[in-house]
Subunit: 225 residues, 2 copies
């Protein structure tokens, strides 16, 4: 909106001095790593240290964290959307759904920052909200197709999928430094619970509607943020 050649160094106004440009790259790289490992809650000092650079340098280049985060996660967030698109392209509706759950979670498990960005609200809100709007119909489609083919239990609804992500996200956090793959175990259980077959334990509680999910994300602080 008003930022200089700060976010896209490639074709900017006047090129940065060599050392400045070097540091800019370092910071971006460090931020990528640190966000992925430790989540969005890391301090600017953390990033600076990791980049072997002074805090001042970080602030000079990225006056606020928001910009840094947004620049970094754009691509990752897109990845999530295209995951859903690819899933819709899959032949078998059940495999599509399960594959989407599995790959989506794997993505989030590999990047703590991404997980926090997607599940919470408060950082890239604009971009993430818009991403969710694009996801919703795809997810809805995945669910409907799998139900039409008789493989997914009929009482499931699109908004249940984010909830499943939240559950698995919790497991990922919980078991992170003990066994980072335990979420797959839980996913397998959940997947079997999603199959259409008797007897079905009735889902006593009503499904959430999209606005409720939205609202839940607002009030939500996964760890620190």
């Amino acid at each position: 909106m008003s930022s200089p050649d700060v976010t896209w160094g490639c074709g900017g106004e006047r090129p940065l001095r060599r050392d400045a440009e070097r540091n800019r790259r370092r910071i971006l790289e460090a931020a990528r790593e640190v966000f992925a490992e430790r989540g969005l809650g890391v301090t600017m000092d953390d990033i600076a240290d990791h980049a072997d650079v002074g805090v001042g340098t970080v602030y000079r280049r990225f006056p606020e964290k928001e910009a840094l985060i947004e620049a970094l996660f754009e691509e990752r967030v897109e990845e999530l959307v295209s995951l859903a698109q690819e899933a819709m392209a899959e032949d078998d509706p059940w495999d599509a759904l399960v594959g989407f759950l599995e790959r989506g979670q794997a993505l989030q498990a590999s990047n703590r920052g991404l997980k926090e960005l997607v599940l919470s609200t408060g950082y890239g809100r604009e971009r993430v909200a818009c991403m969710r709007d694009r996801m919703a119909p795809l997810v809805h489609g995945l669910v409907e197709r799998a139900q039409a083919s008789g493989q997914l239990r009929p009482d499931i609804v699109g908004t249940d999928l984010p909830l499943i992500q939240v559950m698995l996200g919790g497991i990922v956090d919980f078991t992170r430094d003990v066994d980072p793959d335990t979420w797959r175990r839980m996913l397998a259980i959940i997947v079997d619970g999603l199959r259409a077959r008797e007897p079905l334990t009735p889902l006593e509680a009503p499904a959430l509607d999209p606005s409720q999910v939205e609202q839940a994300m607002h009030g939500w602080k996964p760890l620190r943020c």
Copy 2:
């Protein structure tokens, strides 16, 4: 160990003055409510305000939060153990298991502080650790019985239950001020996923052993704590 008649006012050394005793009760009551509603992260000021009492008074009675928490949650934590015991007494092994999951989660859903106490480590560690030691064999028994009766899938293990609690706990947090019953929906899915029936999605990741669960709880900070 060295505390005065602070935690058990009933039969203590010399009785508190009337106003002091009244305030002590108020504080305990307020703490109970506030912990249940907002979790263990609340400040002493929060408690004092809620009790209509000055902070000083709270500190005079309960020099550290730990004591306050421990005094309050003793009973609640016992409740969890007896839940498992009652479950073991149930006739049908499957109903026992499912009922235990359901009631255990309901207890934690109704009391945010309890949930944090049980799932994390850092507050009543002594008491909670000992509680877990008592739970472990019971839970193990519940699992084995349900498997022996052919109702529970055979690849489940005792340590999977705490993980299920973690997942549901995440949902409880997430949906707290949107629809506090959504966790039941997810539980139903999970329960169906636990049934022994073909096809079973294989649990690719290995189960955690108890020490890993313990370790996971250590590194774990649900919200703030």
